[in-house]
């Protein structure tokens, strides 16, 4: 190692959000001309660290040094002036403007009032030639492919004289050939002394392109080193190496019945209007009544998309859904409900609850037909009885049935959503991140509820980004990566490292 200060040194970085410590004394160093992989599970703290580096959030503690000098990155503009440019997974381009306009947006050459278009376009074409983007600089960004749009983002970064480009999951939307082209470009930039921070869930890419790696786990440094001195297994061990929380409930094996839901060759393709949508490619699996099937995968694996397609919340292009062995047509949530399928969506507040309405209204919304008379009047007695029944069964702590659901804690809100579906008596219940954002005590209660549902004969599909949770609640686990099912494993045969391997490698590689 030479003695010159590194390009970037972040040390002792801590960041807390209300109730959560997202980063705890994290250090992160990137040398000039280095390609550095930043790795970790969902929620490990990668995004928070990168947001602090981009000036989008400020740390509670810690220092950032660039070329050995301490700096304060109060906002994204300051970070860019220091040569740090972040390319987010969702691009920040204006689709109806040209390539040149996008590259120099906010920094157009020219006088105070007028833009010097000739200079703008010649400067842009110099950059696009360097990047191998073979398009007129007047082309509108909306007419470009995802890979080309990414090049425009990189051109913008270079136009700011950046020394460090942060790429958040740059390959997730690219084909293999496009990925190789991007990697050649990253190597060229490297030879020019420009560093890259590379965030990816595809671990094999780390070994293809990166020099060094840093792994975060639960907001702390889990390990760092040279890529050449480790292996995929070594990195996976660092990513999942936490101990199983003793507080998690464990399911005693229940009686498993016949197949309640089968999904066959579910396909969902990207459309021009949503080029970043996650594709589903021939997703197939079965779940039996009385069984809890875990769907595991990293962000972007297509778990939520699969759930939404089954439930009729999003359309799909081809494939079959069978309930109790019979093919069914599901194009709307109403049809899914008619076939006995329920969905507890991943975002409780945006997708499940009516925050400004009373608990009773939130709970009874799925069963209004059952608690109202022929004239469509809702029976207050039946509704209050329903609330009372589930308040006791699920131990929902509330002031009263007329309390606004928005005033409940996260755990009690989630119980109201579960109660809504239990009241309907579903054959199949899909729960997407059932314990996200709720505290540990309520988490165990929700797990026990899922066990009770399975014991009562409901086929449960549980989606979770937390591997310990998946391992604790599932009888069987299906793993997905980028819209493809990559494996299936019985809970008793699985551990976190096996699952992480199945989730990060594609089918051929895992075999």
């Amino acid at each position: 190692m030479d003695t010159a200060p590194p390009l970037l040194r972040m040390s002792g970085i801590s960041k807390s959000f209300p109730g959560v410590k997202a980063l705890d004394d994290v250090s992160f160093t990137v040398a000039a001309g280095e390609v550095h992989a930043l790795l970790g599970e969902n929620g490990a703290g990668k995004s928070t660290l990168l947001k602090i580096l981009a000036g989008a959030q400020s740390a509670n503690a810690g220092t950032i040094e660039i070329d050995g000098k301490a700096v304060v990155l109060a906002n994204p503009h300051e970070a860019q002036q220091r040569g740090i440019v972040t390319i987010y997974q969702e691009f920040t381009l204006a689709p109806n403007m040209s390539i040149a306009d996008n590259v120099f947006i906010g920094r157009e050459p020219g006088s105070r009032l007028f833009i010097n278009r000739a200079e703008l376009e010649s400067a842009t074409s110099a950059l696009t030639r360097r990047l191998g983007l073979d398009r007129s600089v007047r082309t509108l960004v909306r007419d470009l492919s995802v890979a080309e749009q990414q090049l425009v983002e990189i051109a913008r970064a270079l136009s700011m004289q950046s020394k460090l480009i942060v790429m958040d999951e740059p390959t997730s939307a690219l084909s293999r050939a496009e990925v190789e082209k991007l990697f050649r470009l990253v190597r060229t930039l490297k030879s020019e002394g420009i560093s890259t921070i590379f965030v990816t869930h595809r671990l094999e890419e780390v070994f293809e392109i990166c020099d060094n790696y840093t792994v975060l786990r639960d907001g702390r440094n889990a390990g760092a080193g040279a890529v050449a001195e480790t292996s995929i297994e070594g990195i996976i061990r660092l990513m999942v190496g936490r101990e199983l929380s003793g507080l998690l409930a464990r399911r005693s094996a229940g009686l498993v019945g016949p197949v309640a839901l089968a999904v066959e060759d579910l396909v969902r393709l990207r459309t021009p209007t949503s080029p970043h949508a996650i594709e589903l490619r021939n997703v197939s699996f079965k779940v039996r009544s009385g069984e809890i099937l875990g769907l595991a995968g990293l962000v972007g694996a297509g778990r939520t998309e699969t759930a939404r397609a089954i439930f009729g919340a999003d359309p799909f292009d081809s494939g079959r859904i069978l309930v109790d062995g019979e093919p069914v047509s599901i194009r709307t949530p109403q049809e899914a409900i008619r076939h006995g399928i329920g969905l507890v969506p991943e975002d409780r507040k945006q997708q499940a609850l009516f925050l400004a309405l009373a608990i009773r209204t939130n709970l009874s919304i799925t069963v209004l037909d059952r608690i109202s008379n022929a004239l469509s009047f809702v029976s207050a007695d039946k509704e209050l009885g329903l609330v009372d029944e589930y308040r006791r069964k699920l131990n929902i702590r509330m002031a009263g049935p007329d309390q606004l659901v928005g005033n409940l804690s996260g755990g009690n809100q989630q119980k109201v959503v579960l109660a809504r579906w239990l009241a309907l008596g579903p054959r199949v219940l899909i729960v997407d991140e059932p314990t996200r954002g709720i505290d540990v005590g309520a988490k165990v209660e929700v797990h026990n509820l899922l066990f009770e549902m399975a014991n009562a004969g409901i086929a449960v599909i549980a989606i979770s980004s937390e591997l310990p949770e998946i391992l604790a609640i599932s009888d069987r686990i299906v793993t997905m990566r980028e819209g493809v099912v990559t494996g299936e494993i019985r809970r008793d045969d699985a551990d976190q490292e096996k699952l992480m391997t199945m989730m990060t490698l594609s089918v051929g590689e895992a075999a």
Partner: protein, 339 residues
């Protein structure tokens, strides 16, 4: 955060802001009436108060329909125009002028108030349905669809009447606007009955629950298995029904229908609903609030007229009150979100 979780009973305690928010329109109404009564003795006479009530009942009927629309976070700007068109159709039916619209005279054979009322309501229902269909099927924002409807129905009204009014109905027709039952004007009775029915529908029926749910969170409503498009379309049909009904009552009260009737009503009606506490963001609001809001606007206009304040200034005052009411609503929403 942990503290918040530890006290889920928080909302059970007395919340002075929540209390004020809930009863602010009623308190404001009482204060306003007291002020006018002090300033001008003529205000607080039964003749004048019934007069206010009768004036309010036309826009009040529209405000009941508008409450359904705004509860779904929608808006309907076309009601004034739709009312004019429906009123002319009712008038033409009553006067037997459909086949012979330019010579609606004594020798024409009328079809009676029953068919006239049905005709007005049918026009309202159809107009509302067409707009609801465009909003839900073609995904055009309600603001744009009903802005278009505002122009279309006004044009239809002008075309239908060839620009002129149709006046002079028989006594049975006029009774619906001018008659009284035990000193209470008939339009007021219609308004009260409609308000009670609408309140029952919104508070006690499946349909009402679904309207609140769709307005409160359309995505959650969809994922709970509600037919969101159907609900949204239906509120514009209900709005159309009330536009037709009030067109009939207005024609009866004025003994005339004309193509420029109802101009600017959308402003008064939306103001009534919003001042009554219904949130433009959807999901929050009551018919009771709308009734209070309608009375408030009615009393305000009546009081200003009695005090000889220019009608130009009245417009300015109403405009300012709408903006203040919405600002208050936005503030209340941000408080709810923090809670």
């Amino acid at each position: 955060m942990t503290e918040l979780r530890a006290t889920p009973e928080k909302s059970a305690g007395f919340d002075p802001f929540g209390f004020a928010a809930r009863f602010a329109p009623l308190i404001f109404l009482i204060v306003l009436m007291a002020v006018f009564a002090l300033l001008e003795p003529r205000f607080f006479t039964s003749v004048n108060l019934f007069n206010v009530a009768r004036q309010v009942s036309i826009t009040g009927l529209l405000a009941i329909g508008m409450t359904f629309v705004i509860l779904t976070a929608g808006i309907d700007l076309s009601i004034g125009s739709l009312l004019a068109f429906a009123g002319l159709v009712a008038a033409a039916i009553a006067k037997g002028g459909l086949s012979d619209r330019f010579t609606v005279g004594d020798d024409a054979i009328g079809y009676g108030w029953q068919l006239a009322a049905l005709g007005a309501i049918a026009i309202g229902l159809i107009g509302g349905y067409v707009q609801g269909f465009a909003i839900t099927r073609f995904k055009v924002p309600p603001f744009v669809v009903t802005l278009g409807g505002m122009s279309v129905f006004r044009g239809a009204a002008l075309l239908f009447a060839a620009g002129g009014p149709i006046s002079g109905f028989d006594k049975d027709f006029a009774w619906w606007g001018q008659g009284k039952v035990f000193e209470v004007p008939v339009p007021v009775i219609i308004f009260v009955i409609a308000a009670v029915l609408a309140h029952i529908v919104l508070s006690y029926t499946r349909y009402g629950r679904r309207v609140y749910a769709v307005g409160g969170n359309p995505e959650a409503a969809r994922l709970s298995g509600l037919n969101v498009n159907w609900i949204i379309c239906s509120v514009y049909v209900i709005m159309g029904f009330f536009a037709g009904l009030s067109a009939f009552v207005l024609a009866a009260r004025l003994n005339s229908a004309e193509a420029v009737a109802g101009t600017g009503y959308e402003l008064t009606v939306i103001a009534s609903v919003v001042i009554g506490g219904t949130s433009l963001f959807g999901g929050v609001g009551t018919i009771f609030g709308t009734v209070i809001g309608s009375l408030l606007i009615g009393v305000l206009i009546n009081g200003l007229v009695i005090l000889n304040v220019s009608s130009y200034i009245q417009q300015i005052i109403i405009g300012v009150i709408i903006v203040l009411a919405v600002a208050f609503d936005t503030f209340a929403k941000s408080r709810r979100r923090r809670a």
